[in-house]
Subunit: 479 residues, 2 copies
């Protein structure tokens, strides 16, 4: 014992099993420990090593459970949670599924939608949300109160909101674009760095079809000025491709390349309608990708080229997107779907193994968002964002350690979300035993009921004037 | 009030929401009621109607929750639950994934595997299991004790168990076949009709590649004699196709047609390697199909032709298969994967809508198993097998009733299993608040730990002699 002066820290975390996501694997440690001080991880190691070096004011011992990084949901529209379950099983999702409800939705000044989404997602272990929406003030306030980490992406668009016929070019209103860019700048000024740095603001052109060349250029310039990333839907469907072909005679990725959008400032979401070559083009530019497997599976019946993106050296995160499409904000669901969809796309059971999607939901998601030095793995110098998973749940049993550890496949292929017992962000507990800090669940459910009744009368006409599958299913007692 | 004499019954069940699965839809009823007597549903209707006709000794009111039929898992190998998570992300699943562990697995005389599987599955709402395995006595005993409904399928096979090289014809041992058929007959005699009729026994040739023509003919004859169905893996992969091509020069479905196996006695599981025409051939024969989407997705990266089977008029149920492949026994998982996989297979978001897979997990699953008159829907004359789903869970909120009800899409696309609060079979509660009747969870987990340690030493050699992806992932810190 040459050194026997112990460093004093705020928090010691111990458990039988750790997945730290260090290196290029999952960083499994048996009987590990985290030393945390002022919300930052100061050391990770064996229990013996850490307790020999640190003395802590608080000790959280999670026994035979698992400690791992908090999950990163790299693309959400939590503001749509109140429309859950209303737009599935429909072709032309945006116009025939979502639009009848979105166009008539009552106001939600209290942010019930965001609260409902967080009740689901934080409960299931998500610690970082990358929320893409207009009017981010309420989102910022709720995120701050709950204590989670957030990348708030301010919505920029100049295409007029209205129902377009297939093949009809969107109408641009430059004043609308101007206003949304101004709003984005003021959202940045107000929220970036807030909540002890847990909140950041990025710039979010809704898509290359929703904003013209000038607006895109100005959005990029304003983002560069502020050191912010561009978080954007890219080639999100044949609708977008058609718009760009009509307007410019180019497919979206070629168009974005031509206007200088493909570089490491870009977080490209979806790539639904991109072929492998286009995905590679984006990847080699240094841009990152977010794949929303559940959402695009339900909305389009498509598996986006995430694997081609990775093979070209690109970083891919996972996103739950929104509840009227994907229907849920649960990263375990995204992991499993991403692994299985890619096995199916490539007709290869070895494609997209469990460890790979677990990394995509943690460290690679953080890197895709440009916050890989802050969160996504348990390493000295990063903030203490972690979750505790109860491995005694039957779906995660048995725990085999040798000759093959099965913890990672069990998490990816069997965990449902309710196995998460504790969620910690910046060293602070934000969820424990099913309770999310700062959100009064009973109050939210009561208000949601009222909102739903208001939606019923407001949307009756816009729903019934369409003759889609869900209209027919209602008549046929299939809903 | 012409009739004011009330009929006395054992149990009245009321709730705000019912999905009865009556007719060809989902049978939604607002403020419904079930009248149950001696474990049988005697009436279903509005709360007002039922309470005007019946007086009950017990009243279970589930408030704003949902009552729906118990889920039917139409194909399981619960006996493999102890190998969960050990054989994913591997090509040649059976030989390189499962076999190293299965060949060395310690005995499990107490049925820990079955108990572990039930702890997971009953908790998530499964009331009927169609278990396919050798040595069914322990399965029958556990099913009886827990009180669930079971179709026990006795395993018949004459192919010698050993590692075969790709392209090597399986060796048949007629004595092995004889013994397995004898065992099947005595399993039938012992267990069919047991547990107040909740248990039935079917005959289960493992596959057309594992049993020759004579044994298949004798199995069918013995099954006919007893009024039992044949529950069998059919065209479960290219491995099976190759065996049949080598042996008979025919693909499996043609071979089964030629030997008279395609008829309404057959429950055909998987059809992994069947094309649409072959699926249609099986469907029009009157045979039913069980699709195990999660399992076949992970093991083969394939979406079987369930939709083609349905379009040809066939009935399709869902199966969770086994934990070393699919990894879980959770019918919500199967519903979601089946819907999404088919949208992807057909590149069509309208393919396999939510209501359809909900029917496959309930009434169509029951019909596929030949027990559609007993369970699978809530209708007078059927046994009272139902589950209660807590609709206040955030993932199932909001509940919109008008202009479109979103309960069915929310169940299929968002429910994870922990929303099930009560499970009832034959009018008796078998699961409540997470506790499964007749299984001591703590005892099971303790014994599972011991078993896992025994597996570690027993399987060390058989695992390490292979050079597959999981062996490499262990070395590379990816597990």
């Amino acid at each position: 014992m040459i050194e026997n002066k112990l460093r004093e820290i705020d928090l010691l975390v111990t458990a039988d099993h750790f997945l730290t996501m260090e290196g290029d694997g999952v960083g499994y440690r048996y009987r590990g420990a985290l030393a945390v001080d002022k919300g930052t991880i100061v050391a990770v190691g064996s229990r013996a090593n850490i307790t020999a070096r640190y003395i802590s004011r608080q000790h959280l011992d999670y026994g035979s459970n698992l400690v791992m990084p908090g999950l990163i949901d790299a693309h959400t529209h939590l503001k749509l949670s109140l429309l859950r379950g209303l737009a599935q099983d429909v072709s032309n999702w945006m116009m025939d599924g979502l639009s009848p409800f979105l166009s008539s939705a009552p106001a939600d000044p209290e942010g019930l939608s965001v609260k409902l989404g967080l009740l689901e997602a934080v409960r299931a272990g998500t610690t970082t949300f990358s929320e893409f929406s207009p009017d981010l003030d309420i989102v910022g306030e709720i995120f701050k109160k709950v204590g989670i980490r957030g990348v708030l992406t301010a919505f920029i668009r100049e295409a007029v909101h209205r129902r377009y016929r297939p093949g009809e070019l969107y109408i641009y209103d430059p004043a609308l674009g101007e206003q949304s860019l101004e709003d984005a700048c003021s959202t940045f000024d107000e929220w970036n760095g807030e909540a002890d740095g847990r909140l950041m603001v990025y710039f979010g052109p809704q898509g290359a079809d929703f904003a013209g060349k000038d607006l895109l250029a100005r959005a990029k310039a304003e983002a560069i000025k502020r050191g912010a990333k561009l978080h954007m839907h890219v080639q999100q469907g044949d609708r977008e491709t058609n718009q760009l072909m009509m307007r410019y005679g180019k497919r979206p990725i070629q168009w974005l390349a031509d206007i200088g959008y493909l570089d490491d400032q870009l977080i490209a979401v979806h790539l639904t309608d991109a072929d492998e070559e286009e995905a590679e083009k984006v990847a080699v530019s240094g841009a990152s990708m977010v794949v929303c497997s559940g959402s695009i599976g339900i909305i389009d019946g498509i598996v986006p080229p995430a694997l081609a993106f990775q093979r070209a050296g690109g970083i891919v995160g996972l996103g739950s997107d929104q509840a009227p499409g994907n229907n849920c904000h649960n990263m375990w669901n995204e992991m499993k779907l991403t692994a299985l969809f890619n096995k199916i796309r490539y007709h290869d059971p070895e494609a997209m193994p469990a460890w790979r999607v677990l990394r995509m939901a943690t460290i690679e998601g953080a890197r895709a968002l440009g916050i890989g030095s802050v969160t996504g793995s348990l390493e000295a110098g990063k903030r203490a964002d972690f979750i505790v998973v109860d491995l005694s749940k039957p779906a995660l049993q048995p725990v085999h350690l040798s000759p093959m550890r099965n913890i990672v496949p069990n998490l990816v292929y069997s965990a449902r979300g309710d196995e998460v017992v504790t969620v910690v962000v910046d060293g602070q507990i934000v969820m424990e035993n099913g309770k999310v800090r700062g959100i009064d669940k009973e109050h939210v459910l009561r208000e949601v009921r009222v909102w739903s009744q208001n939606l019923a009368s407001a949307s009756a006409r816009s729903f019934s004037t369409l003759d889609g599958p869900n209209q027919r299913y209602m008549l046929d007692q299939k809903l």
